[in-house]
């Protein structure tokens, strides 16, 4: 089970209302390589992986949910004071007529989240390679977001998130090596 903590993993400070930036950030909220996809992917794979890597998938999945909350906070703060006109100008007119000022799991292009973004193969090496790729794609997306954003508060949080994807990728690669070592040892006997 999970217990809610009334705090963010890392502070989110927004400099100005900026619905256009919020729209771009939705890529990491409900997009294919976003935080929701990451959290759900690992949380679902963990049941059938070898015991050695269950902890890692559980812990990284839990952290991804805290990243999701950071993204939600950014999007909320960037749009809460925007008028319908401002939202429309930022390309969020269609979002507004369907969702008002509320958030939704969709990507920067407005495409709703789908489970087809993620996979679970019942093969730990295949799953972990997908996880490594997911982290690298998320890292790249954060880089593009930093490149396009001029909000210093948002960029600070995005840099933190980008570095976390690096660490997750590294840990997943170590997990692959742990499983390969075990497999090779079994062959010897």
């Amino acid at each position: 089970m999970w217990v809610y903590e009334k705090k963010l993993l890392y502070p989110v400070e927004v400099t100005t209302c900026n619905p256009m930036l919020a729209k771009y950030l939705m890529e990491q909220y409900g997009g294919a390589d976003g935080e929701l996809a990451a959290a759900l992917r690992y949380m679902n794979q963990r049941y059938t992986v070898p015991d050695k890597v269950i902890g890692l998938l559980t812990d990284i999945s839990t952290e991804e949910f805290s990243h999701l909350e950071m993204l939600a906070t950014m999007i909320y703060k960037l749009t809460k004071d925007a008028s319908p006109e401002q939202l429309e100008k930022a390309g969020l007119g269609a979002h507004f007529v369907n969702h008002g000022h509320s958030l939704f799991y969709e990507n920067a292009g407005g495409v709703p989240f789908t489970a087809t973004y993620i996979q679970s193969k019942g093969d730990p090496i295949a799953d972990l390679y997908e996880d490594i790729a997911a982290e690298e794609k998320a890292r790249a997306t954060y880089q593009w977001l930093i490149d396009i954003s001029d909000d210093p508060g948002i960029n600070d949080s995005l840099r933190f998130l980008r570095e976390r994807e690096n660490i997750h990728s590294l840990r997943f690669r170590e997990a692959v090596e742990m499983l390969k070592d075990e497999r090779d040892r079994k062959k010897v006997f």
Binding site: K7, L8, Y10, V12, E69, K77, I167, R171
Partner: protein, 88 residues
Amino acid sequence: MNNFDERVNLLKKVQQMDFVVVEWTLYTDTHPNDEDALEQWREAIKEAAVARKQYENKFGPLSLKSIPSRQALEVGWRWNQDPWPWQL
């Protein structure tokens, strides 16, 4: 320092210390025999608990795993009370 600034500063301290725990936890997940890392992980958990207690004594529990302090109850602390993390 006013109440709001103090709250934000103490919360940042909790966030920092909790993050160290998150980082060592992931590291020890893939380095289960690294005794030095395990020691630092245990130390980080202790330090995070100290920072959490400092915040919670004054501003109330961050989760329902903590007992509300007398001080927090006296100023009317309730779980269902803003600011929520995205409102801060």
